[in-house]
């Protein structure tokens, strides 16, 4: 959230005018920062207050999604799996299901057997394979220091 205070007539005036305003504008949930800026509209230096919600770490830069053409398909099929999971738990609990274009195309009790069958049928298409369970997948660890942070 970016907020500019004042009008062109206020340009060059004391900065505490902005400081007095910030509490009423941003409220207690915001961290406020005061900067000097020059904007073409105002033609003179301005004091600008920027409010950032405290729940957002200003040092944190949003991560870019992996550079892979199949990543969007993965996210799409994962969403479809989430929507279908309640029904799948009724019909295929404990099995692995293969999902393509939002539909279950195959299922098996063995993940690798299912994967081989699916990749033989659809070698060039993204297919999501997931176990039908309400359990959250366990966190995986690569504890070798040389891999950490890679």
């Amino acid at each position: 959230m970016l907020s500019l205070f004042g009008t062109p007539a206020h340009a060059g005036k004391r900065a505490d005018r902005a400081r007095r305003s910030e509490g009423s504008v941003f409220g207690p949930g915001y961290e406020t920062y005061l900067f000097s800026m020059e904007l073409e509209t105002y033609q003179r230096p301005l004091k600008v207050v920027i409010g950032i919600p405290k729940s957002i770490d200003p040092e944190c830069v949003p991560e870019e999604p992996p550079d892979d053409p199949h990543y969007a398909a993965f996210q799409r099929e994962l969403s479809a799996f989430g929507r279908m999971l309640p029904d799948l738990l009724q019909s295929r609990r404990g099995m692995y299901v293969a999902i393509r274009q939002g539909r279950v195309i195959d299922a098996d009790e063995d993940e690798l057997v299912l994967a081989k069958r699916v990749y033989t049928q659809c070698p060039h298409e993204y297919v999501l394979i997931r176990p039908v369970t309400e359990d959250v997948p366990p966190q995986e660890y690569l504890c070798s220091p040389e891999v950490d942070g890679s």
Binding site: A115, Y119, L128, P137, E140, Y141, L142, C143, S144
Partner: protein
């Protein structure tokens, strides 16, 4: 069965303390497609899952299975999403193993516990030797080795 000595180098990486390294690993997809390249592999009991060089997956035009965020040795360190691929590893003396592996930009293979837990793996640091057996054939030996004396 396969055996070797502890080495100070695996792929392009050097180690201060010698490690169990196996050479001649062939990486392919589940359909049997491979590249004419052989890789070194490090037996890594600290890795939940095997890691393969990502460039092999790209060159074979393999489609990732999914992306996950594995943790490293420091739980506080940031993680990123890493792709996982179904791969087939062919290791001399061991045979073929199909598994789900991480694809990471590295020059060698990490053979994690998903690979090792179905094998009989022995390291003798005193003599700097290691050996891997297919577990089912060596259960009697395994039970003798683990017996408390």
């Amino acid at each position: 069965m396969i055996r070797g000595t502890l080495l100070s180098k695996c792929g392009s990486e050097a180690y201060r303390n010698p490690a169990p390294v196996v050479s001649g690993i062939e990486i392919g997809d589940l359909l049997g497609n491979t590249l004419p390249l052989l890789w070194d592999g490090l037996f890594d009991t600290g890795a939940d899952r095997t890691v393969v060089p990502h460039k092999v997956c790209r060159q074979l035009k393999m489609i990732p299975h999914d992306w996950t965020r594995p943790r490293g040795f420091d739980p506080e360190s940031p993680t990123r999403e890493i792709p996982r691929y179904y791969v087939r590893l062919r290791i001399p003396g061991i045979g073929e193993t199909d598994l789900l592996a991480f694809g990471v930009d590295r020059s060698n293979v990490l053979l994690g516990r998903d690979f090792l837990n179905c094998k009989f793996f022995v390291i003798d640091g005193d003599t700097r030797r290691w050996a891997v057996h297919v577990a089912s054939r060596w259960v009697p030996i395994l039970s003798r080795c683990l017996r408390v004396r």
